[in-house]
């Protein structure tokens, strides 16, 4: 490697002795996009474990009728914190972490456009998360009522008003999410500007990796869709602290307006969360099928149109609230439109695999499962988009089953695929393939066992967010089945964590490009040096490393 000369020239830094304080100082003061990206991802994984344990308690409580694991108040806090954590402290930092780590590497840049803003975004996000969790200690406030927030992750008015939500618990929900949201907006803004202004020579938008394209559109959605939530939260703060009347129906305010504002944010948010999975699949599937992605322009167009349509579908969360039939019709139609670009994407991923030389390594296994499971999640989504169907199953376990299928069976599978795929790049070592396969099959089984029965529970009339149920409802079997999925999901997660930890220190050396991949991040060392690239690369096609490895048959002749 040519980089050896360069490293000799570097001044000798006191790296020999391990010192806790110097490592801490480095962690706090770093503005390196790779470190910040990893810090985001590690934070997300920690919160994932916390919220996952909450889900475990919830499932244990519901395993049998008349469950006595937790009481009703604790149950309310559990599902609120589980949902809030998963969306804002797991999903969002994964978006930020993945794009932070990978976007500069993939576009041949040395760092993000605003490295210090990047660090600011991470730290304010982290302390937003701490603020939310501090509610367990400080939530009782001056009036001595309340603990953690218990208003649900969408915190509908008027449940959040002073009268119904005493103490400071709801304020912790508002402020924690508000502060974390500032971090997400800062990071998204950074990704957009990096993609626009920092691409290496020759990296035109047509040649940009699919991952970067999807994250660009994702970040665009974040800066458009997150401020409405912040605005609504400011209004809620004004209501709670200054006696405002925004959501106070007794003085003419409207509780439904909160629902509108929340879902104007909330629906784009679920696309914001799923986009990283789209981004990962669009990189992993071509590499493991040994074929360039099928219909690249259509893929970019599909993501862009999902992003666009997602801004106009929010009220399908509100069919049961009693809107005009015109609104119901509009939002049913616009929601169904999302099915078209999503269908294009699933078709193109499948078509990429068609006729390819498929290698079923762990990342590819997760991608294959994603295709099946996300398809089912999409189909139940279309079912729920139909107004009359939604009136039947609104706020039932069918809805819970649907969105857990999109986010766990979909997003989490995509994230696992991405983490296995880029693990050799980040650590320089290979994960253990056998454990990876065990993780995949156990997790697959667990997820199916847990979330498929929820759909049936919905059909049988079980409402969401109930803390227990009577034994004569006919829900016992399906609930026990759903809980039994834990027996597979928990060991799978332990295997994953162990695999990552063990392989980081003891795994086989992976080399710089173990997958024989085509995008720029595999063209530098593993792990990448602080400056990413010795010299800024120049690219001539969308698969620069292919051009490099096949000088007789380069892509740029055909693009």
């Amino acid at each position: 490697m040519a980089s050896i000369d360069h490293q000799v020239e570097r001044p000798p830094v006191a790296e020999a002795r391990f010192s806790f304080s110097s490592h801490l100082y480095e962690l706090i003061s770093t503005v390196d996009h790779k470190r910040l990206g990893l810090m985001y991802i590690v934070t997300a994984l920690l919160f994932l474990v916390i919220a996952g344990l909450m889900a475990t308690i919830i499932r244990l409580q519901l395993a049998f009728p008349n469950g006595r694991v937790v009481d009703a108040d604790t149950f309310n806090r559990l599902f609120t914190m589980h949902g809030t954590t998963m969306v804002f402290l797991v999903g969002m930092p994964f978006v930020a972490g993945l794009s932070n780590y990978l976007v500069p590497l993939m576009i041949g840049a040395r760092d993000m456009a605003f490295p210090r803003l990047n660090a600011f975004g991470f730290w304010i996000f982290l302390f937003g998360g701490f603020l939310l969790y501090f509610s367990y200690i400080g939530g009782s406030g001056l009036s001595g009522a309340g603990s953690a927030p218990d208003v649900g992750w969408f915190a509908y008015a008027p449940l959040t008003s002073r009268a119904f939500s005493r103490g400071a618990s709801t304020d912790y929900w508002i402020l924690g999410i508000f502060v974390a949201g500032i971090g997400s907006i800062a990071s998204a803004l950074n990704v957009i500007v990096t993609t626009i202004s920092m691409r290496c020579p020759g990296m035109t938008l047509n040649r940009m990796p699919m991952f970067v394209w999807v994250m660009l559109i994702d970040s665009w959605l974040i800066i458009i869709a997150l401020p409405p939530l912040s605005a609504a939260q400011i209004m809620l703060l004004i209501d709670r602290f200054l006696g405002g009347n925004f959501f106070n129906t007794q003085s003419g305010g409207s509780a439904v307006l909160w629902q509108h504002f929340f879902w104007i944010f909330g629906h784009p948010e679920v696309y914001i969360l799923i986009f990283p999975a789209f981004a990962i699949l669009s990189e992993v599937i071509p590499i493991f099928s040994r074929k360039p992605i099928f219909g690249r322009p259509a893929m970019v167009g599909a993501v862009a149109s999902i992003g666009f349509i997602s801004l106009g579908v929010w009220a399908h969360h509100m069919f049961a609230v009693g809107m005009t039939s015109w609104s119901n019709t509009f939002f049913t139609a616009s929601t169904m439109l999302v099915g078209i670009p999503t269908g294009i994407k699933i078709f193109n991923w499948t078509a990429t695999m068609y006729g390819g030389k498929i290698r079923l390594a762990t990342p590819m296994l997760f991608c294959c499962a994603f295709l099946f499971q996300f398809l089912i999640a999409g189909l139940t989504g279309i079912m729920l988009a139909t107004g009359p169907f939604d009136w039947q199953l609104h706020d039932s376990y069918f809805v819970v089953g649907h969105f857990h299928f999109t986010l766990v069976a979909g997003l989490v599978f995509g994230l696992f695929a991405g983490m296995y795929y880029w693990f050799p790049k980040v650590s320089g070592r290979m994960y253990n393939e056998t454990w990876g396969k065990w993780h995949f099959w156990l997790f697959l089984l667990g997820v199916e066992l847990t979330f498929v029965p929820m759909h049936f529970l919905g059909f049988l009339g079980m409402p969401r967010r109930i803390y227990t149920y009577a034994p004569d409802r006919g829900w016992n079997f399906w609930n026990l089945l759903a809980t039994s999925g834990l027996l597979f999901q928990l060991p799978a997660t332990v295997i994953f964590v162990w695999n990552m930890l063990w392989s980081t220190f003891k795994g086989e050396r992976a080399g710089d490009d173990p997958w024989d991949a085509w995008t720029l991040e595999w063209g530098t060392t593993s792990p990448p040096p602080e400056y990413n690239f010795e010299s800024i690369p120049e690219v001539r096609s969308s698969r620069p490393l292919w051009d490099l490895k096949n000088p007789n048959d380069p892509d740029w002749k055909f693009e």
């Binding site: 997150l226 405002g244 003085s251």
Partner: protein, 198 residues
Amino acid sequence: MDAVLTETAPASVEWKLPDRGTMGIIFLIVTETALFTIFVVAYLVYIGKSLSGPYPKDVLDLPILASICLLSSSVTIVFAEHALKRHRIGLFKLWWLATILLGLEFLVSTGLEWRKLIYEDHLTVSTNLFGTTFYSLVGLHASHVIVGMAFLLLVMIVSLMGFPIHTQERRVKFLSWYWHFVDGVWVIVFSVVYIIGR
């Protein structure tokens, strides 16, 4: 491998991307616009929904002078920018001071308006829906004016202390874009609150 990458690559082509600062301020303005949009929508939704007085038509006077001041500060800041571009620092400071004074006049008259509304008309945030939405929207805008003023003052102070401000022409430009945005928002707020809402 990097070295190989550059070896096979063709000779450097013309490669120019948009300036990152410019893009940064543009997207900051985009995301701020999304924030304001929700407050404006809330105001529009709640026009005429107050169950009790005081109502907008009884208590609101058109803030003509303040609006003229704020909008003309958008002009003076452009003059200041042009002066800076031609390295005429004295002229720059003069126009910059004018911008600050015009912005200050806007803030002072907003303060006086609120004082009148609170003490004479007894309209507070909690009085009725009009009070809630009025103070929120106008207050959100005013808080942006205050942030803008803080940066304007910062530039004024450092340039008075002899800092070579012409080296920061780019950043001064971004600040002036932000200021234009705040003024643009006022046009919307003015139309919504004082014309449509009255």
